[in-house]
């Protein structure tokens, strides 16, 4: 059973994660806008590199580590 401190940490963690998500997406949008208009003339961009894909997968790995830690520590 999770303790009161753990419970508080959980609620604060949810809020901070939501805030970070909103901030990141807003930052991207403000910096990049709606569309990449260069694409109209030059055609589609090249497919992402394997290194870029691996970084995305590493983010997923981090997410599942945090999820497992949340379940384990919150047991």
């Amino acid at each position: 059973m999770i303790g009161e401190t753990g419970f508080r940490v959980l609620l604060i963690g949810f809020w901070l994660a939501e805030f970070a998500f909103a901030a990141l997406v807003t930052y991207w949008f403000v910096g990049e806008g709606f569309s990449d208009d260069e694409d109209v003339e030059s055609g589609p961009k090249p497919l992402e590199s394997s290194g870029y894909t691996l970084r995305s997968l590493a983010m997923w790995g981090g997410f599942f580590v945090v999820l497992l830690a949340m379940i384990t520590l919150g047991a």
Partner: protein, 508 residues
């Protein structure tokens, strides 16, 4: 409860804002051809696409569903609900990268099946996708109409008609551009309000310490289980059916694929990753509503926790909550309607009815379909409200995914996958899972299975039949024959050094 006047004002405000935004983006992005209407020209930036993807995955039902999960099983219900919902975003990545390697600028992913297998397989896919996407729209309106109607006193049918009418109009204007732009505003509104609204609710209930104390007191002997993240006692009923059905739903959802083809090609995995993980954080915030409900209303049925908990708030906060529901509902419903319009124009009209159709004719069909299917979704929702429960609706939607994901994966990564194997796997799986889910003891050969077992049967049957039949009657497919110009696909599906793809078929 807020008054009818406040409810009507809120809906009118939302309608004017969304239609105004759609008109702005229609003019700004010059939405005058099918490529712009269906995939936003394939040049949408990652921020816009991530927001659109995430808010499409935040369903109106989540506001009721997550607190209900918490009411049934405690705080573990948060991840049991959230984890399957985001699983699709991870699973779809290899599919998305493969498809964008084959088709740098595809329109609908379902058109791949006519190139890969021919018309018979394509028609099977269309059938599955059509009912899955219509159900997606119905699921949103079902909950949204009930909640908004319930809290305002406006007739549910009137609410549903108004919502569907507004969504139909703004999709008619700008297609995916309208959907993604309104999604972005809906995303910001929903998240900003959640960031303010949920903490406000917590402090209205006395703050985290008081909530914790109330939970331990009210739950008594159940407190250790309900306050444990590792409480998996309800995993068979809550987690597994959701994971096996909706957990892979994103792979077959046209709404997902429109955003995969809309985003810049070099950002494909990033928007799926950030969007997926972001959905988890939002669902977790909805879970806090359930936690407050458990502390304040221990005797209330789990399905009613959200509504009861909102009673803690003053009327203005309930209006704010309704705005969240409207935003989340609109974003998902418009995505499914855009997807159906695209499916109708490209997969049905252009591929099967008039293969010589001009781009302008396809665009007219897409716009007509956005209104026609708005009417269909409205009628289906009204019918479902009288005849089906919400959970059953969700699970019927999951059947489509269980029948299609395995054969789709085989077709993309194994060149010997044959049309006969693909069609057999999809059709038999759909029929069998439909029979198991909707049948009863009065039917011959029917056996009672748990919901997650039905989903598992669907995956197992579709994948093993597609694989087995393809082994007996194999294809020897050359991927380069369908690869779009600019792709890097070799005959065996591997990668070339030079980008040897060939230009084929119509618009692709």
């Amino acid at each position: 409860m807020v008054g009818q006047g406040a409810g009507v004002t809120l809906i009118a405000f939302w309608a004017v804002t969304m239609i105004g935004l759609a008109y702005y983006i229609y003019r700004r992005q010059n939405v005058t051809d099918t490529k712009e209407f269906i995939t936003a020209g394939g040049r949408a930036q990652v921020g816009l696409t991530t927001a659109s993807f995430a808010v499409t995955w935040m369903w109106a039902g989540d506001v009721l569903g997550v607190p209900e999960y918490v009411g049934i099983t405690g705080i573990a219900g948060i991840w049991m609900y959230a984890a399957p919902a985001v699983l699709s975003s991870l699973i779809v990545i290899p599919f998305a990268l493969r498809m964008r390697r084959l088709f740098p600028q595809g329109l609908t992913y379902s058109e791949y099946f006519i190139e890969r297998f021919g018309k018979r397989a394509h028609l099977a896919v269309i059938a599955v996708l059509l009912y899955t996407m219509v159900l997606g729209g119905v699921i949103q309106l079902y909950v949204g109409g009930a909640v908004i109607g319930g809290l305002t006193g406006i007739s549910t049918t009137v609410v549903i008609a108004a919502l569907m009418g507004v969504v139909g109009i703004y999709i008619l204007l700008g297609g995916l551009w309208s959907s993604m732009t309104t999604d972005f505003v809906q995303f910001l509104s929903a998240i900003a309000i959640t960031l303010v609204f949920v903490p406000f609710l917590v402090f209205e209930a006395g703050g985290p310490g008081a909530i914790y104390d109330s939970m331990t007191t009210n739950l008594g002997s159940q407190a250790p289980a309900f306050l444990s993240m590792a409480n998996v006692s309800a995993i068979e009923d809550l987690f597994l059916p959701y994971a096996l059905g909706l957990g892979v739903w994103g792979v077959v959802s046209l709404a997902t694929w429109q955003r995969v083809f809309a985003v810049r090609r070099d950002k494909t995995s990033r928007f799926l990753t950030v969007g997926g993980i972001g959905v988890f954080t939002t669902i977790s915030m909805y879970g806090v509503i359930g936690v407050v409900g458990l502390a304040a209303f221990p005797e209330v049925a789990p399905g009613n926790i959200t509504i009861e908990t909102l009673g803690l708030l003053p009327e203005w906060a309930t209006v704010v909550f309704l705005l969240v529901v409207l935003m989340v509902l609109g974003s998902s419903t418009d995505s499914y309607l855009t997807a159906i319009a695209s499916l109708t124009a490209r997969d049905i009209y252009f591929r099967h009815i008039d293969t010589e159709a001009s781009d302008a004719a396809q665009l007219r069909v897409a716009r007509g379909a956005s209104i026609g299917f708005a009417v269909v979704i409205f009628a289906a929702t009204v019918w479902a409200l009288s005849n089906l429960g919400f959970v059953r609706l969700l699970l019927i939607g999951g059947i489509g995914a269980s029948g299609l994901v395995g054969p789709f994966a085989l077709s993309l990564f194994w060149r010997r996958t044959s049309s006969a194997g693909f069609v057999t796997g999809v059709v038999v799986s759909q029929l069998l899972t439909g029979f198991l889910l909707l049948g009863n003891a009065g039917f011959p050969l029917w056996i009672e299975l748990q919901l997650w077992e039905i989903m598992a049967v669907g995956h197992l049957v579709s994948s093993s039949l597609a694989f087995g039949v393809s082994l007996v009657s194999p294809d020897d497919f050359r991927f380069e024959t369908i690869a779009q110009g600019g792709s890097e696909i070799a005959a065996d599906g591997g990668e070339t050094d030079t980008g040897a793809g060939t230009e084929t078929g119509g618009e692709r």
